[in-house]
């Protein structure tokens, strides 16, 4: 995007500002003459048409193509966003999705057997990769999967008559913000558990918080510092001893995909982010997909419908009397499911494991390179697929991020996790080459040699420079108005 200086100084008018009354893009088939007032009721008709843009097709194409050139993606730039797992999105997946585009969710099951078979096999493969007994594909995103998982836990406690007593969900202080938000959406009180100096959950602190009032513990493993929770088996035992359920946030599954299964670690519920671990494109912030896997004792509570196999026929089963109900219309983000299915079939067992291990190798390699360049590593041990770094004393993380933009790299995640000051959360993923990692490390090192004033004013050649966030918050302008 940034390479062409001429391009970037050009203003980018809104599509509304390119609109000319009477100009047209797509023309639908001719509509017959009808009396709308008679068909729809004159009171129900709108007086003024919506002010949508009026543009010809070429103007439309140039507009959105122009916008795309003011945008970074994995296909254009190295994008090492910690905790977000920006893997390459294989092109064959887009071709695969097209094969299933014309299916309607209310078709007779006997004429959508291929789609149902795909879902059934994906449920099975995801259960296998996570070490779970059953999986639902319905949740529309990771956080939606979290909500589904917590509601399943809630329904389980309710079925045992323990819902009234179990009102607390424990969440580490390093957790993703969605974990406490989810627990609170499910009506729970959230209690944070402190991390110990080694960056892991403090097992003793956890034990003192555990009791018959705890419904669940939500953990990410490897955790949000990129470290594997080494005492996980003991934590699971402690949780189960008091009847609490252990919830696995799948945000960081890529590090252990196929190499270590949440089910084997003692987790009862796991959500996956198909748009992270299973290469579904992030699309600028969605759609994602957040399947949820559970151990057998929680399977009766899964949302309806479940895809089942009866003999050689696939069917949708709505008859789950203990189900939490539905969390989304229809069967989930099917298009995302096709991509994840294709990925698993392409990789097989060996490819799944190798991808995880190479993600870990790339992260550790980049960690060593950044250390050499002068970055601090607050928790310096073998990391999983990501790690936290800090710029040297006196340099702000925000400025490093903006400096990287100027040098043509998307920055890592900044200021997360919250428990590390000036955090840079770096996640290179397995699809990046050694040369890319080295180029990034060199650029990150170069920034430290720049004048402080250069760094604080970067970036320079992006479509816009640093934006006024305060103005946007104080006086948000959330839509275009003519004449403004």
């Amino acid at each position: 995007m940034i390479a062409d200086k001429k391009e970037t100084i050009v203003e980018s008018p809104l599509i509304f500002e390119k609109s000319v009354p009477g100009r047209r893009g797509i023309t639908p088939p001719k509509a017959p003459e009808v009396d709308l007032a008679a068909l729809l009721g004159s009171d129900n008709l709108r007086a003024e048409p919506p002010k949508l843009p009026e543009v010809d097709e070429l103007t439309l194409v140039r507009h959105y193509t122009g916008l795309s050139r003011r945008q970074m993606g994995v296909d254009t730039h190295f994008y090492p966003l910690g905790s977000c797992t920006m893997k390459y999105n294989p092109k064959v997946h887009e071709a695969a999705v097209g094969l299933f585009a014309d299916l309607h969710p209310y078709q007779a099951p006997e004429v959508v057997q291929g789609a149902l078979q795909l879902m059934y096999e994906l449920q099975r493969d995801l259960s296998e990769i996570t070490g779970m007994d059953a999986t639902t594909l319905q949740p529309a995103a990771g956080a939606h999967g979290e909500l589904t998982g917590i509601l399943i836990i809630r329904a389980y406690h309710k079925s045992r008559g323990e819902h009234e007593q179990r009102r607390v969900v424990l969440v580490p202080d390093s957790a993703h913000g969605s974990n406490p938000a989810t627990a609170s959406m499910a009506g729970y009180t959230v209690k944070e558990i402190a991390s110990s100096p080694d960056g892991e959950v403090d097992l003793e602190a956890l034990k003192t918080e555990l009791g018959p009032h705890v419904a669940a513990i939500m953990l990410t493993n490897p955790n949000t510092l990129g470290l594997f929770e080494r005492k996980i088996l003991a934590m699971a035992q402690a949780a189960h001893r008091v009847g609490a359920q252990l919830y696995y946030d799948g945000a960081n599954l890529n590090a252990v995909m196929g190499m270590a299964r949440p089910g084997d670690m003692g987790f009862d519920v796991v959500h996956l982010n198909l748009h992270k671990t299973f290469t579904v494109p992030h699309g600028g912030g969605g759609p994602g997909s957040g399947p949820v896997g559970v151990k057998a004792h929680l399977a009766p509570f899964l949302p309806v419908p479940q895809v089942v196999k009866n003999g050689e026929t696939y069917a949708l089963d709505y008859d789950l009397p203990h189900s939490i109900g539905q969390v989304r219309s229809f069967y989930g983000n099917f298009g995302a499911l096709v991509r994840a299915y294709a990925y698993i079939k392409m990789l097989g067992e060996e490819g799944i494991k190798k991808s995880a291990a190479l993600a870990v190798l790339n992260a550790n390699y980049l960690k060593e390179l950044l250390k050499e360049q002068g970055y601090r590593i607050p928790y310096d041990r073998t990391c999983m697929h990501e790690f936290v770094a800090q710029p040297p004393e006196g340099i702000r993380t925000l400025d490093v991020a903006k400096g990287l933009l100027e040098l043509g790299f998307h920055p890592p995640t900044v200021y997360f996790p919250l428990i590390v000051k000036e955090a840079l959360m770096v996640e290179p993923t397995e699809t990046e080459s050694k040369e890319t990692l080295e180029a990034f490390a060199r650029a990150a090192g170069e920034l430290l040699k720049k004048d402080k004033s250069w760094l604080e004013a970067a970036p320079y050649s992006t479509p816009v420079r640093r934006l006024d966030e305060v103005q946007a918050n104080r006086k948000p302008k959330l839509r275009w108005n003519p004449g403004e």
């Binding site: 047209r24 916008l67 299933f100 291990a357 948000p476 959330l478």
Partner: protein, 433 residues
Amino acid sequence: MDYTPHTEADLESMLERVGAKNLKDLYRDLPQEIVDPPLQLDTAMTEAELMRHLRTLAAKNQSANVGFLGGGIRSHYIPAVVPALAARAEFLSAYTPYQPEASQGLLQAIFEYQTMISELTGLPVANASMYDGSTALAEGVLLALRESGKMRVAILKSVHPEYRRVVKTYLEAIGAELVTLTSTADPIPPETGAVVGQNPDFLGTVHNFTALAEAAHAAGALFVAVVDPISLALLKPPGEYGADVAVGEGQPLGNAMAFGGPHFGFMAVRADLVRQLPGRLVSETTDVEGKRGYILTLQAREQYIRRGKAKSNITTNAQLTALMGAVYLAALGPQGLKEVAIRSVAMAHALAEKLTRIPGIELVTPEPYFNEFAVRLPKGALEVRSALARKGLAAVTPVPAEYGENLALFACTEQHTEADLDNLAEALREVLR
């Protein structure tokens, strides 16, 4: 095959640099009894093998394009520019625009989308999209409960049954109550914080909700309208009949049916509710040189800042599918959208006339109706749906028994021709004979 670039030489030098003997050694910190378990997965395929396998699976499905299925998902024509532009790799492979200098393309596209949804709904503020129509409604209802401080929701029975089920799941989680109203004339129960109606409703009827919205306000509740975006080319927008919140399913706007997803949900609200909105919001602002730019705003509502006190747990929306919606709306413009709507309405009314001439079929959707309607069939709807599928026709959306026995929905779009309608009527005659 996999997508990793590492050569043997790369592996050797990188492993040495990080001090590991081999790849498995990178997992030395883990409890060794759980590392590297055997997995029951199919053998890896090549790209050609994969495509062949997927084509075999796809061949077991019948296309529903230019079918008559409805219930929230419809077979409208998708102009070729829509997928072509949304498939631009910079849009497809980007993340949430947290670094605005590197994301002006998406941020501006969202700002334009917000404007279009605001125009369609007649409400001043729209967010950057939701997962789908059903979860947009659930979030809209939660918003209304937050604003009103009450814990009861009254929903019309004519709202899509799957949407009502999703709302029930969300409300159960916070211990709020869901009451079903059978008619717009039903009294609103005390302590209601949200009244929900759908327009056109699940069976296709177009409503004038002005009185219901007034009644909701008089009872201290917010009125939440579920609307079909295509219908808003012709029908009075929710903002004009007193809705505080408007939500809906974006699929009809340039998104493939895709077996029910991914699509996008939209949400628009009254200006003073902006801080109660879930999800992302983009604001116009200026950069240090005074140049116009766009940025995510009011993030203090969101989970990564407010954690347990956030307005919702949403971290992703449906940016790419919402972008398809925006491109669709811009491609058609006000005139094109109106023509799509009129032709859909005209075809639906023509179809209803043809179908009700068949003995035993009776129209049950009250007038006026839009582009979908329900009829009573002389046989079970599932049986008729299967019989039509055997003739290669995707039609008959089964209606749950709570609305009556043997009911089926039929939906029309601008894609249908007179010949399509005759073909369906003829097939249905044969099936019912």
